[in-house]
């Protein structure tokens, strides 16, 4: 059984804001999105801001209704069985704000009461690192403390699935690390964790699987190792030449192991397998393009992410 299953989910916003005379073009936030998250995985949902990550999460929680397609969470229909879904899911939403006039303890009590759970507010506060502030009003919390408080609310009742939308927002590096520790502990307890981020560094150290979303479409999905392998196999070679005849570019393009070639004046950027570097250089020399200087960079996972999400690289998976 999958923890999350999206089947052809499309979400289009009219952009009209419901006001006459203010209509704008419809925006397609999600385009025919299929996504499966296996039970027990930590799934990192990556993508730049505006890619549709929050919309996907909003569909899972029935905050917004898809224009087409269907979503299932823990084998329940996200639309018609939403309340049962949310009984078993812990959520750290994006763009929330706490109740200013209620204390941290009252927030946790509210979550505990709402889920008929038996947790102790003090223990949860201890876990998320706000024990000192538990009896203070949340209106005085910093962004990071509010984030910790709501993460604590999400942990109430030992949920089968944690949905965390940009959980490291407002956290310092230490706080982000603590958050990752909690995510691992929850996975080890048996929960599935689905969390979104626009920062690869948050996802890379903890995730079993990573999906990359761009413009409402899933452009890559793999294990972290898989993505790293795909990245590690490629080298980017930047070559400065004295002259750059078209023949030389064509000859390089024709080589085995070369995937893309971009020519810009006297500079050539070549993506190729590591072993093809020397062949590329000698081919340039042989075709009337003397090499003045060159530089190689092995693509890191960071760059793979950047290239997927900015659209400079076609998907090869």
């Amino acid at each position: 059984m999958a923890a999350i299953e999206l089947d052809g989910v499309t979400k289009r916003y009219d952009g009209g804001l419901g006001l006459p005379g203010r209509s704008s073009d419809p925006v397609e936030a999600l385009s025919d999105l299929d996504l499966t998250v296996r039970e027990g995985d930590i799934y990192g949902f990556l993508g730049p801001n505006g890619a549709g990550k929050s919309t996907t999460i909003n569909v899972l929680l029935d905050f917004v209704r898809p224009t087409a397609g269907s979503a299932r969470v823990l084998d329940l229909d996200a639309r018609t069985e939403s309340q049962q879904v949310r009984e078993r899911v812990g959520v750290l939403p994006e763009g929330f704000s706490p109740y200013d006039r209620l204390t941290g303890r009252q927030h946790l009590d509210f979550a505990i009461g709402s889920k008929n759970a038996a947790d102790s507010p003090s223990e949860i506060a201890e876990r998320v690192g706000i024990a000192d502030a538990l009896d203070r009003k949340a209106g005085g919390y910093s962004k990071g403390m509010a984030q910790r408080l709501v993460l604590g609310m999400a942990l109430v009742g030992q949920p089968d699935l944690l949905i965390l939308d940009e959980p490291s927002t407002g956290l310092d590096p230490n706080g982000a690390r603590e958050m990752r520790d909690i995510v691992r502990a929850e996975r080890d307890r048996g929960a599935t964790v689905f969390f979104s981020s626009h920062v690869l560094g948050q996802v890379e150290p903890v995730c079993d699987r990573v999906g990359i979303l761009r413009d409402g479409e899933l452009v890559a999905e793999d294990t972290v190792e898989g993505l790293r392998d795909a990245a590690g196999g490629e080298t980017t070679l930047a070559v400065d030449v004295e002259r750059l005849p078209d023949d030389a570019v064509a000859a390089v393009r024709a080589l085995d192991g070369v995937s893309t070639v971009r020519a810009d004046g006297q500079q050539l950027t070549v993506d190729c397998v590591d072993g093809a570097k020397t062949t590329v250089l000698s081919t340039l020399e042989d075709n009337g393009a003397p090499v003045a200087d060159f530089d190689t960079t092995g693509a890191s996972l960071e760059e793979v992410f950047a290239s997927y999400t900015t659209g400079e690289r076609e998907v090869r998976a």
Partner: protein, 279 residues
């Protein structure tokens, strides 16, 4: 269960609001002041002792204006405010349905409203007790109960408008407009409609029961009727000439039905709209 959890949290939150403190103070001042005024300065006609009953009838009209304003003030932000601030995501991340949110908010805000009404009336009762020997707590409690119902109706209207829009500003404007039309301009609106329907002239023959029914529709009128149906005859009213209306819907007790409708219908409409939209 879920509704109650939302209501409890909403009460905890709203009871700490300064607006509520201000409203409570205002209402207490109003009831205590009016009690003093009617008990001391303007005793009952005929020179008898002022009674709580005289006071209650004197308070009906001003309470009928102040309580709707308090009710709307409590209701208009209930859902739209949560959407504006993003707190709705906190609320709906937990296993509550949108119906729980609408009902829980209404219940929570009503509990909040009960506080100023009870405090106000308790202070008023103390003032009367101090000024007058004849104090009838039953009538007083009835009055407090009907007043809470009126407040509930306006909270329901406020929460309904709040559920149907995403902006507290629009909810506020909508609520105030409705209040003004229902409680201040209703007779004029009805007259204007009759005038238009009748071909730009007023009918010669007296209007039928339906017209009086329409007149009795605003929550404030229903409130007065409902209160009258439970209280003894107003001692200051002169003997009524003519007879009580035959139609059941024109009798005083029907005010309760109208008040109930003002609670249920707006909430149902507001909920349906809220249920059908994206957050």
């Amino acid at each position: 269960m879920s509704t109650l959890a939302v209501a409890r949290k909403d009460f905890q939150d709203a009871i700490r609001s300064r607006v509520l403190l201000g409203l409570t103070g205002l209402f207490v001042l109003f009831v205590a002041g009016a009690s003093y005024f009617f008990a001391r300065i303007q005793p009952a006609p005929g020179g008898g002792d002022p009674t709580a009953l005289v006071l209650i009838f004197s308070l009906l009209t001003p309470a009928g204006l102040l309580v709707p304003i308090i009710g709307l003030a409590l209701g208009y932000k209930a859902v739209a405010g949560e959407r504006e601030s993003g707190r709705i995501k906190l609320l709906l991340s937990l296993p509550h349905s949108r119906l729980d949110v609408v009902l829980g908010k209404t219940l929570g805000r009503t509990s909040v409203l009960v506080v100023p009404i009870l405090v106000g009336f308790a202070v008023g009762a103390a003032v009367i007790f101090w000024q007058s020997s004849r104090f009838t707590p039953v009538n007083y409690l009835v009055f407090a109960f009907v007043t809470v119902l009126l407040g509930l109706a306006y909270i329901a209207i406020g929460v309904a408008i709040s559920s149907a829009t995403t902006s507290t500003f629009r909810a506020l404007i909508g609520g105030i407009s409705l209040l003004v039309v229902l409680e201040f301009l209703w007779q004029q609106v009805l007259l204007a409609v009759v005038y238009l329907v009748n071909g730009l002239s007023l009918p010669q023959q007296p209007p039928g029961d339906w017209y009086y029914f329409l007149q009795s529709l605003p929550p404030g009128s229903a409130y007065s009727s409902a209160a009258r149906s439970l209280l003894p005859q107003n001692p200051t009213t002169l003997a009524v000439t003519g007879q009580t209306p035959d139609a059941f819907y024109l009798q005083d007790w029907f005010g309760f039905v109208i008040l109930a409708a003002w609670i249920v219908v707006p909430l149902a409409l507001g909920y349906l709209r809220f249920e059908g939209t994206d957050l």
